[in-house]
Structure formats: C-alpha cells, structure tokens
Symmetry: C2
Subunit: 229 residues, 2 copies
C-alpha cells in the first residue's frame, strides 16, 4: 500500500540546512491502524505531509499502491489526494467563510460523483458521529478548539478515502470525546479496510493502534514489520 524508502526532508533557513527527516524507511500495509510517536519536533508532521502528497521529499521514494509519487504531475497529484487521501491537519485548516456543514461537504462537492441527496445524508451522518449536530451553522470562528478539530476529522472521512492521515487528531479533545472519535475511526477502518496513520502524543490513541512507529530526531527508530491482516 504505502512504501517509504530512504526519504529525507531538508529545509533551508538562511545559510543553515535543517534535516527534518534523515533517511526514513517503512512500509504500511492496506488496512493498518498505525501510530507514529515521537517528541515535539521529531518529524511527525513532516512525515505525514510527505505520505499525504502535501509536501515533497528532498530525496527518496514514496510509493502509494505501486505509484511513485514524484513521477506524477500536478493534476495527477491533486486527483490522487482528492480521491485516495483524507488529511486531518494539526492546525485544522478549515475554510473560515464556510460553516460546519459546508466545510465537511466541500471535498465531496469537488469529487462531484454523488447526487446532492446522497451528499447531504453522508455529511449529516458524519456530523452526528462527531457530535456536532447542534453546531452545523457555526463558522470556525464560532466554535471551540475541539469542535474545529472534529470538523477537520469529519471532513477527512467524508470521501471515504483509502488512506486517512491524522496529525494529532485528539490534541484538543477531552478523553471521552477523543475515545468516541477513535472508536468511530476504528469502526471505519474495520468496515472499509482503509489505512489509518496517526501522529499522536495521546496514550488513548495508542491503545487502538495495531502498530507503533517511533520517530526521534528525523529517524524511525524501531521499524517493526507491518502487521499482516
């Protein structure tokens, strides 16, 4: 499903080069529920952004279903991201002028493959599953931090993507709300066989993980073999 080989990521800062990832190798099998764990600044967001085709590796190879990502042109990349990947950003990245319903509906409208009625019922189902039924008309600025996080979560799931990348998805949630979100994602993972990759600091998330990948200072430190399902 996802093959990362010798991936490095460098940032230029003035005359210095920062090595955010230093030759990362690992493989994720279809349907895994995997957690990436590491200290603040260790490279989790950088890694997720590269897997999610939001950022390009400086060196190395990223293959999704056998497709080498760096061979794709911009249109093919955009299409892959829309159809195959759901991303929950650490900073949510909601659209400020759209309300909860419209933010979640947005990727489905872009895909343009469902009739309006099916879109509405799918969006409403997700809104209910993340506990935001009373807040559908609020805009992001009219929501609490954890409510915005849940909009970002619902939006990432609405297209039923094959790969969900979740960057600290429970950071702003209390334990009870966080657990209901994790149970929802686990249910989707088991029903759809979609692949979930979380970066997290939350021990509750780790309980749900099939496998844990540790990252320290830009390196993966214990590349366990993938769990065959």
């Amino acid at each position: 499903q996802i093959e990362i080989t010798q991936v490095t990521k460098n940032y230029r800062l003035g005359k210095t080069t920062i090595q955010a990832l230093k030759g990362v190798n690992f493989t994720v099998e279809e349907g895994e529920f995997l957690s990436v764990v590491g200290a603040s600044g260790s490279g989790k967001t950088t890694l997720l952004n590269i897997i999610g085709c939001i950022d390009a590796a400086s060196e190395g190879s990223v293959k999704i279903d056998g497709i080498e990502i760096k061979r794709l042109n911009d249109n093919e990349l955009t299409d892959l991201r829309l159809r195959k990947i759901g991303f929950i950003f650490q900073t949510f990245n909601l659209i400020p002028v759209l309300n909860v319903f419209e933010n979640i509906e947005f990727p489905l409208l872009l895909m343009n493959h469902l009739p309006k009625k099916a879109v509405v019922s799918r969006v409403n189902a997700l809104i209910e599953q993340v506990g935001l039924t009373d807040f559908v008309r609020h805009k992001p600025a009219e929501l609490s931090g954890g409510q915005r996080q849940r909009v970002a979560i619902a939006r990432s799931l609405v297209t039923n993507p094959a790969i969900v990348l979740a960057d600290e998805p429970t950071a702003n949630l209390d334990t009870e709300t966080g657990n209901s979100i994790l149970a929802l994602m686990k249910a989707i993972n088991m029903r759809e066989k979609s692949t979930f990759i979380f970066s997290t600091h939350d021990p509750e998330v780790l309980k749900y993980a099939d496998r844990i990948v540790n990252i320290r200072d830009g390196r993966v430190v214990n590349p366990e073999p993938p769990v065959a399902l």
Copy 2:
C-alpha cells in the same frame, strides 16, 4: 485575587442565542495552581478569555485585585492585560513575521521598563527553559506544532505576570516535553507566587494542580473553596 460572580456569556448566531456560560461563580486566590476541566465545547476558553480581559462577560462581575473589569476604559484594560496577565492561547496567536526570539521579546518591548541587555538575557533564559535554543531564528511557519506552543508559553511568562492563563498548554506536546513545561510553570508559581489557571484535558497537568474546577455545559459544577496557601 480573582472573583467571578454570576458571569454569563451569550453569543448571537442568526436568530439563536448560544449560552456559552450560564452564571459562573468562583474565586481564585493569589498563588493558586488551578485546572479547569470539561468536555470539548463546555466553556473553558470562553471562561479564560473573560478572566484574561480578552472578552467581556454578557452579565455578571469580574474583579481582579478588587478592580471591577467592566468599569475600566480601553486604555486601562490594555494596560492591565499587559502588566498583570500572561495568556497562552489555544491557537497560539504568534506573529507570523517575527521569529521565535522576537515573538517572545515582544511583550517586554511593549512594557518598555527594562534595559535592552536585561530583555535579551530574560528572553534567552526562557527560550532555553522551553527547549527552543536551536530554533531562535525560525518563524512560526518554520516550526512544529509543539514548538509553536512552546513559543506561546515562553511569551506568556516573559513579563513575569501575576496571573497566567493557559488554554490547553500541553495539547501539542509529548508527555516528556509537557512535563518539563509544567515543572517550569510550577517552579515559577512557587517562586513568584503568581496565579496559574489552566484549561486542560491532560491528566499530567492535573497532577500539578492544587485545585480542579469542573465545567459542564457552561456551568461550574463543583465549586470547591479555594485552597488557602
């Protein structure tokens, strides 16, 4: 120190009125290390913003050191906030064009009460205490989520305020980094007798708290008497 009496906060959304706080009463004594705990959407950020004079209550009274906040004019309010209060926002609110050093230095420059040399050494001490010495020249966009959170933390402490309001200050931090930050804040609290009020979902933070205030659906549900120190 801080007296909250019958505070309500209403938001208008179209024709509906949302009651984010429904008559909150509590008192915080000088030097307390207090945690506000509650589910996502329960009113924590709203309460902290009102205590921190960033937002006004719809009804009720907020007294800081005997001063009724709603009697202050804009200049007096700005002055109070700058001199007495340090705020760690749930969304950090860093200045994008300033680097780590400049972001942390900013409130001290506004206060204009220390010579440049003292400003520099104070800022550098805090940068070291939050573990960001290697990142002083990065701008917020060139930092990880937890690094931005630590800049926000250092900035809130740089003026040595009498009251520190921390809205989920460890949300984006791994347990080890989070604990070093909490130990730092506890040390400041004990040395300076400054008052710390956290909203948090993190059980690690609760271990440091003298007192826990539970909030549910806009109401404080177990107003324990303040811990006399």
